[in-house]
């Protein structure tokens, strides 16, 4: 069987799960914000997984790619009248532009990919700790640019009034696409070789695997998906500013990645589900106060983050492989069946 | 020292398989074999640095297999590791000082160091220099001297002549003999240099692919056809 089909088939379990969740949303009507948030989270964490899960290099910089996509989409789809007022450094054709959402999203994805290509070629020559730090530096640079280039991004004040183009259906479609693409990539020659090199960069390199080129490929793919996710995020949330793409969201993303299991696409989805659940449900408690008799906490700001911290620490100590572990669900099923018939 | 049933792994790979060794007090015992035979892993297991293993390791009849390397060393076992592994950026004197730490004494034992500098005069000239500036042979001497600082009763030497010129190889073997005679140290020597090892040791073991293939006195082993074929250049 042509190998991508096998991967697609393998991804159906996860995709089915996503569709089921969406179906639940359709049948229950009402506000689909939380589910849309979930699908967007799936897309971004799958982006991270396709790079870090395969290459073994933990990326703290995905929010740079994500944010780039968000800002590109936001700038493009912001009301032209507002644009000329607020975004004074934009060239006129951009200020007047008001493209359809899917064009804006395509451009956002392309921007993510472009940034990935630009940064990946130099950065991915490094190994180990250096690469991680360089990617972190990318995050810091992006944060500074988002905040300081006020003529284009409106800096700390942020872009407001972004159109609500992120419906649940659209978010679902992109989440499904991301899952399939990530799975196909993982099982592709590039993906396999990357995973082999993850264990030992030196021997892989000596066998003739152009490790760097493969890493760049994964990084660029990751950037494209992240850019698309960013566009959807911008439309979902309606207002973006640099803090949406800095350390705290990076942490949430890492939690999603690790808790579910960094080796599998299914793990990424599970992680996204858990974290979205926490984000949506716990946030409501943050404004309340807690009276324990001895101690009184007036505002539980940061409770969400606390729960995320506890989640990831639990996984780190008790089950570092993550909830899903090393195998995709379909791989586990196949192995089980083979064991039965052998 | 006695080792019984030692089996050591690296993940799924078994590097040492059910090995039995005995080193009597005052002996020089050689552990011979080709690369990958499991000799270094055996030494690392004895000293406690390699933990993925089963089997019994006894020193003077007392089980030491469960102890961490820090404690094994304090019981009187010294190791000059493969590749020397001296602290390159520290001075020779600092390297020696660290070696003495195993003796558990607070003060530097100057007398001990003097004795070792007598045995290894070239180190005396280089005391203040960074260890990285020493030649290969000098670094090997430093590694051995460092292991000797706390006055161990059992000294493990892992390939001390690796990469050394013939004259220095001679020097090292002379040293080993001197150590046994003058310092009252029992020595377990891992070597690929079979000829010379057999000349200076009292007994030897031959390891191959993780298991002990032959053991005996040097004469016995020289007569052993397997040793002859593999190492002494005698066609089988």
């Amino acid at each position: 069987m042509w190998w991508p089909l096998r991967s697609v088939a393998g991804a159906t379990i996860v995709c089915a799960g996503l569709v089921v969740v969406a179906a639940w949303g359709w049948t229950h009507g009402g506000d689909h914000t939380k589910l849309t948030h979930f699908f967007i989270n799936v897309t971004i964490v799958v982006a991270l997984q396709s790079f870090s899960g395969n290459s073994g290099i933990l990326s703290f910089g995905h929010m740079a790619l994500f944010g780039t996509g968000a800002y590109v989409a936001g700038i493009l789809t912001l009301d032209p009248a507002l644009k000329s007022t607020y975004l004074t450094s934009l060239p006129h054709f951009l200020q007047d532009a008001n493209p359809r959402w899917w064009i804006a999203l395509a451009l956002a994805a392309a921007a993510g990919g472009a940034l990935a290509l630009l940064s990946g070629v130099p950065i991915l020559r490094l190994d180990g700790a250096s690469a991680v730090i360089a990617i972190l530096a990318l995050l810091l640079i992006a944060d500074v640019v988002f905040g300081a280039w006020t003529g284009v991004t409106r800096g700390g004040a942020g872009l407001i009034g972004l159109p609500p183009e992120a419906t649940m259906t659209r978010a679902l479609v992109f989440a499904l696409a991301a899952v399939v693409v990530a799975r196909v990539f993982k099982d592709s020659k590039t993906g396999l070789l990357l995973r082999a090199s993850r264990e030992d960069a030196f021997s892989a390199a000596s066998v003739g695997v152009a490790v760097r080129a493969y890493r760049v490929r994964a990084w660029v793919l990751s950037g494209v998906i992240a850019g698309a996710a960013g566009a959807l995020f911008a439309w979902w949330i309606g207002t973006i500013s640099p803090t949406n793409f800095f350390l705290a969201p990076t942490f949430a993303l890492i939690v999603m990645f690790i808790v579910g299991g960094k080796r599998t696409v299914a793990g990424a989805v599970v992680g996204a589900a858990l974290v979205t659940l926490v984000q949506e449900q716990v946030r409501g408690y943050e404004d309340s106060s807690l009276d324990l008799g001895v101690l009184t906490f007036h505002r539980l700001t940061g409770l969400t983050q606390l729960v995320l911290v506890l989640m990831i620490l639990l996984v780190m100590y008790a089950r570092p492989e993550g909830i899903v572990g090393r195998e995709e669900p379909d791989e586990a099923i196949v192995r089980f069946l083979r064991g039965r018939t052998a | 020292m006695e080792v019984r049933g030692l089996t050591a792994r690296y993940g799924p790979v078994v590097a040492v398989r059910d090995v039995d060794l005995r080193v009597g007090e005052g002996e020089i015992v050689a552990l011979l074999g080709a690369n990958g035979a499991g000799k270094t892993t055996t030494l690392m297991s004895i000293v406690g640095l390699h933990r993925a293993r089963t089997g019994t390791i006894e020193l003077d009849g007392e089980e030491i297999g469960h102890l961490p390397p820090e404690r094994v060393v304090r019981r009187g076992v010294g190791l000059a590791p493969e590749g020397r592994r001296i602290f390159a950026r520290l001075s020779v004197a600092e390297n020696l000082r660290l070696g003495a730490a195993a003796a558990g004494r607070r003060r530097d034992d100057g007398a001990r160091r003097e004795r070792l500098l007598e045995l290894f005069p070239v180190l005396r000239e280089r005391l203040r220099l960074p260890a990285a500036s020493l030649s290969g042979g000098e670094q090997q001497q430093l590694a051995i001297a460092r292991a000797l600082m706390p006055g161990p009763r059992l000294l493990l030497l892992d390939e001390p002549t690796l990469g050394l010129a013939p004259k220095l190889v001679r020097l090292v073997f002379d040293l080993i003999a001197r150590l046994r005679d003058e310092e009252d140290v029992t020595i377990l020597l891992v070597e690929q240099n079979v000829h010379q090892a057999l000349e200076c040791c009292d007994r030897a073991y031959l390891m191959r692919v993780g298991a002990v293939e032959a053991e005996g006195t040097p004469e016995e082993l020289r007569r052993d056809r397997r040793v002859q074929a593999a190492y002494l250049g005698v066609p089988s």
């Binding site: 933990l58 940061g302 990831i312 | 961490p68």
Partner: protein, 296 residues
């Protein structure tokens, strides 16, 4: 920018550089021994700041504030090792990284919930505004004090690392941790000592930093620690001398760039520094000061 302005800005950057240098040194020490990039190091600074705030708020004299702060940060660092990192001994670098990241957020959140998410003011001690003229230059009292303290600390540290057995062990551990154990030196002790030292350094940095910063908030540690990371990389990952040099270089650079580009375009200066950093990592992975080493 004239030479005079340049030198003046460098002088102005001394206190910032000292803070960065002390933080970077603590980071570099941990990295050199354990390969650990401790994201939570910035939180040690924050904890120092909160201890200072609590005590000054209650009108405790500085004579007590100083040792209390140092004790607090040192203990916090040791606690970090004991509770968060020791159980993970031998785990992959990735695991350690993520855990330290989580730890950083944990401490921040605890402070947010336990104290407040809002900044708390720290008594602006009057002496930090004073200045003296030395030749054509103005030297602030704060610059003098921070530089003097930092030099004293560095000297003490050098003595410790060279003269004491524990100090020599730490230097050795940075080269070959396993062999240090062969010296009969308990591995745990060396690690704890390194953490304690890094905590102490962070405490000193906190005292210097918050004396002029004016306030402390749960995220106070973020900006300085980012700078400290940059300094560590500039100096060559794990190279202690390099970390100090990197800290000062960065302090000067920050000061100069801020003065020159106080206009619109280059609040970007941070980004410029970071981009230079990446370039540096590529061209000279051993940093400005280090020697070329083989990848371990």
């Amino acid at each position: 920018m004239t030479l005079h302005e340049f030198v003046q800005q460098c002088i102005n950057g001394l206190s910032l550089g000292s803070t960065y240098a002390l933080l970077a040194l603590g980071l570099a020490m941990l990295f050199s021994i354990m390969g650990l990039i401790n994201f939570a190091h910035g939180e040690l600074l924050t904890i120092g700041g909160y201890v200072m705030w609590t005590m000054l708020h209650h009108d405790v004299s500085w004579v007590l504030v100083v040792p209390a702060t140092l004790l607090a940060t040192t203990l916090a660092a040791v606690a970090m090792e004991r509770i968060a990192f020791r159980p993970l001994r031998g785990a992959s670098i990735e695991t350690l990284l993520v855990t330290s990241f989580a730890l950083a957020f944990f401490i921040q959140t605890v402070l947010q919930i336990g104290v407040s998410a809002e900044p708390e003011p720290i008594e602006h001690t009057g002496w930090s505004d004073r200045g003296y003229s030395i030749g054509p230059y103005t030297v602030g009292l704060i610059q003098i004090i921070t530089t003097a303290v930092t030099i004293a600390v560095l000297l003490a540290l050098v003595l410790f690392l060279r003269r004491t057995l524990l100090g020599v062990s730490i230097r050795a551990a940075a080269e070959d941790f396993a062999v240090v154990r062969l010296m009969g030196i308990p591995a745990g002790r060396v690690v704890v000592a390194a953490f304690a030292l890094s905590g102490l350094l962070a405490g000193i940095a906190a005292l210097l930093f918050f004396s002029s910063a004016g306030s402390v908030s749960p995220t106070s540690g973020t900006a300085p620690i980012v700078a400290a990371f940059i300094a560590v990389v500039l100096g060559g990952l794990g190279n202690l001398t390099g970390a100090v040099v990197g800290g000062y270089v960065l302090g000067f650079a920050d000061q100069i760039l801020a003065a020159v580009h106080s206009g619109t375009i280059l609040q970007f200066h941070d980004a410029v520094v970071l981009a230079i950093l990446i370039g540096l990592l590529l061209l000279r992975p051993q940093g400005l000061v280090g020697r070329r080493q083989e990848l371990a």
